[in-house]
């Protein structure tokens, strides 16, 4: 059986396919079918010829085998310095072999490649910072995931995830109606406490176009309400788009480049349609990476820039605090020791390390840096889609020990984590290890300490 009904080389484009996958509990049947999946060697060979160019080939070839990348990798460190976790070894024994053999590999080889690409690397790009030649193995693993996806060797959840983007243009099954209704619902909910608060939909020429993560809409819509309240207090002229409202990209984690393009194009279309001055993402790391940093290239923009200037939520917060649009009540600043989880996707790979510290200076009295921090920080342990993959739960949980120990070392009781993946990983590590910490996005934190201007306060009852 070359192609399974569930596990095959075809991406998910229809509700029927999607439902069939969702009905397969924990992907049991899916992974069973994967054992029979044929490798299309000719296609793999062609793909390498067409897309594996001098940058990656040079990286693979000139690697000096010096091992300096080893302790850059959290998985190497946390797995008792297992040599099999050395980044150079991981990429040479997978992508390196595929290229060397010109795609002539079999099923079991590809399954091993899949397991390596998704459970031993979160594409945090830290190793690339520690290689004297500048060999970025995270980039190569991202590329390798694309080869795997095209061959059907992709974790079940991410096959579903990229399918969600293809069908709903969102990472979850949230339709445009669901989204618009949620906006109205959240607006209504705030009527009493915040008279005049609006969640403006499709307003042209606003200062800010706010984009969200579908899971906020589906699982914790209060996040949207909090965003609206903060914009309301800051007096922002903002809007959301009824279409192209979701800027995440599980397809990036899956290596489904075609879906990546589809997804960002809907977001870019909303920018072109509504012509906001700037677009702002919610507190999500990979969303920023996908839609702001990588997306323009998927969409074929030679400038490498999205249609309008895009900022991460932390940039807006820092700006609002700096300009006084949001004022913090000094008495309500956090007194407990607090630390900050530097997200790989917008700190190391987005250059926003200073912005994060600027925010901290306004909201916390006892800030403790993790070691290492900023660009050099370790992945939370759940990046690159790893949080969501059941098959690799054990490996993910092992990786969390790195973050656990880093946090414990700071003595902090609160971890500020303006990134969905980091936030999840830290929540999970607390649930597993019970180290007595709490974790938070910026929005609830800011709401707990922001000064509300008189005219915005609800009338006395």
């Amino acid at each position: 059986m070359p192609e399974g009904r569930l596990c095959n080389k075809k991406p998910v484009d229809s509700m029927e396919q999607l439902q069939a996958l969702l009905d397969d509990r924990r992907g049991l049947k899916y992974y069973e079918e994967m054992n029979e999946l044929d490798v299309d060697r000719a296609a793999l060979s062609t793909a390498i010829q067409n897309t594996c160019k001098s940058r990656i080939r040079t990286w693979l070839e000139i690697c000096a085998h010096c091992g300096l990348c080893a302790d850059a990798c959290p998985y190497y460190l946390v797995n008792n310095r297992d040599p099999k976790q050395v980044p150079a070894h991981k990429i040479q024994s997978t992508l390196g072999e595929i290229v060397k053999r010109k795609g002539d590999v079999d099923n079991s080889f590809m399954q091993n490649v899949m397991d390596t690409a998704w459970s031993k690397c979160t594409c945090c790009n830290r190793c690339g910072m520690y290689c004297p030649f500048g060999i970025d193995m995270g980039i190569m693993f991202g590329y390798l995931r694309g080869l795997c996806f095209a061959q059907g060797f992709v974790p079940w959840e991410l096959k579903i995830g990229s399918g969600m983007h293809r069908i709903f243009r969102a990472q979850m099954d949230v339709t445009q109606e669901d989204w618009v209704e949620t906006c109205a619902w959240m607006e209504e909910e705030q009527e009493d406490d915040w008279p005049g608060l609006k969640i403006p939909i499709d307003v042209e020429g606003a200062d800010l176009l706010y984009t969200v993560n579908a899971r906020e809409v589906k699982h914790y819509p209060e996040d949207l309400a909090e965003a609206a309240i903060l914009f309301h207090i800051a007096g922002e002229n903002w809007t959301v788009a009824s279409e192209g409202w979701e800027a995440t990209s599980l397809s990036m984690f899956a290596g489904d480049w075609a879906a990546c393009k589809m997804q960002v194009e809907t977001v870019y279309d909303s920018m072109k349609r509504l012509k906001p001055k700037r677009m702002i993402t919610t507190e999500c790391g990979h969303m920023y990476r996908a839609t702001v940093l990588e997306g323009p290239y998927w969409a074929g923009y030679k400038s490498g820039q999205p249609p309008v200037e895009c900022i991460h939520y932390v940039e807006w917060v820092a700006e609002a605090l700096r300009t006084g649009k949001l004022k913090i009540d000094p008495a309500r600043k956090i007194k407990e020791p607090v630390t900050y989880q530097d997200s790989c996707n917008y700190i190391r790979n987005g250059g926003l390390g200073d912005i994060a510290r600027e925010i901290i200076s306004y909201v916390a009295e006892d800030f403790r840096e993790m070691t290492p921090n900023r660009e050099h920080n370790f992945c939370c342990g759940g990046g690159g889609g790893l949080n969501g993959i059941g098959r690799y739960r054990e490996q993910r949980n092992k990786g969390l020990e790195m973050k656990r120990d880093q946090i414990l070392e700071t003595g902090a009781k609160i971890v500020i984590s303006p990134c969905h993946n980091c936030w999840d990983a830290i929540r999970d590590l607390e649930e597993i290890f019970h180290i007595g910490i709490s974790w938070t996005f910026l929005k609830p934190l800011l709401l707990s300490m922001v000064e509300v201007p008189e005219h915005l306060k609800p009338p006395e009852q």
């Binding site: 940058r55 091992g67 099999k84 004297p132 990588e294 030679k302 660009e375 050099h376």
Partner: protein, 225 residues
């Protein structure tokens, strides 16, 4: 024999060395793709150059990066090895005399004691590079016979040259061995990962541009390597 080794064969070696490296550079640069690499190389040139230079310079300086700082032993090893490899042959008096005899030009030369020290530095650090390949599991797993062969190709001209310069017994043998191994090294460079003598700069520059243009360089202060 001497005439052939230092005549046609030397010319051929240098020809292969230079042409080979030029081909490498051209192939590398031509293979870069803004869309596949997802770096707008030609659109934000100033940011690109800044990122590339920062990336190259930080790593060229001993202890210039976090990696060099956190691994001081390896850093010393790498720099002693490479400084000796690069500077000794170019600024060696004996080499300069040959150039002067043939073309009438010469340049700064190292005092003999310095050249000897640098050469011994290359040989000793090579020994340590071999030892760490054997001793450290994280290096051992990456190591194959090819890595030892390349180290041998690299160090052989220094061992033979050093012995010849010390006028040990069998001077002619060591001299010929020195010339031949030197030529083997020159020829091997473009065809092996020794090509990193140019590709280091290109690869470092490329990642520097990636960070400088796309990954935060246009917003933050630039990556602290």
């Amino acid at each position: 024999m001497y005439k052939f080794l230092t005549g046609p064969l030397l010319w051929l070696s240098f020809l292969i060395f230079f042409v080979g490296l030029i081909v490498r550079v051209v192939w590398y640069v031509r293979g870069l793709s803004w869309q596949l690499d997802r770096v707008a190389y030609t659109e934000h040139v100033a940011y690109g150059i800044k990122g590339a230079l920062r990336s190259i310079v930080s790593w060229l300086l001993p202890f210039g990066t976090r990696r060099w700082k956190t691994r001081p032993g390896m850093t010393i090893l790498v720099f002693v090895f490479h400084i000796g490899l690069v500077f000794t042959p170019i600024f060696l008096l004996a080499h300069n005399i040959i150039v002067q005899e043939r073309w009438g030009i010469s340049w700064f030369t190292l005092p003999g004691s310095v050249a000897d020290t640098l050469t011994i530095g290359v040989i000793v650090s090579a020994v340590f590079l071999v030892l760490r390949r054997i001793a450290f599991p994280e290096v051992r797993i990456l190591t194959s016979a090819y890595d030892y062969l390349l180290l041998a190709i690299t160090v052989a001209p220094f061992v033979t040259g050093f012995l010849a310069s010390q006028k040990v017994a069998g001077y002619d043998f060591w001299l010929y061995a020195h010339i031949i191994t030197g030529e083997i090294m020159l020829i091997a460079i473009p065809f092996t990962k020794l090509s990193h003598i140019v590709l280091f700069f290109l690869s470092r520059g490329q990642l520097g541009m990636d960070y400088g243009i796309k990954r935060g360089g246009m917003k933050g202060k630039g990556l602290a390597w």
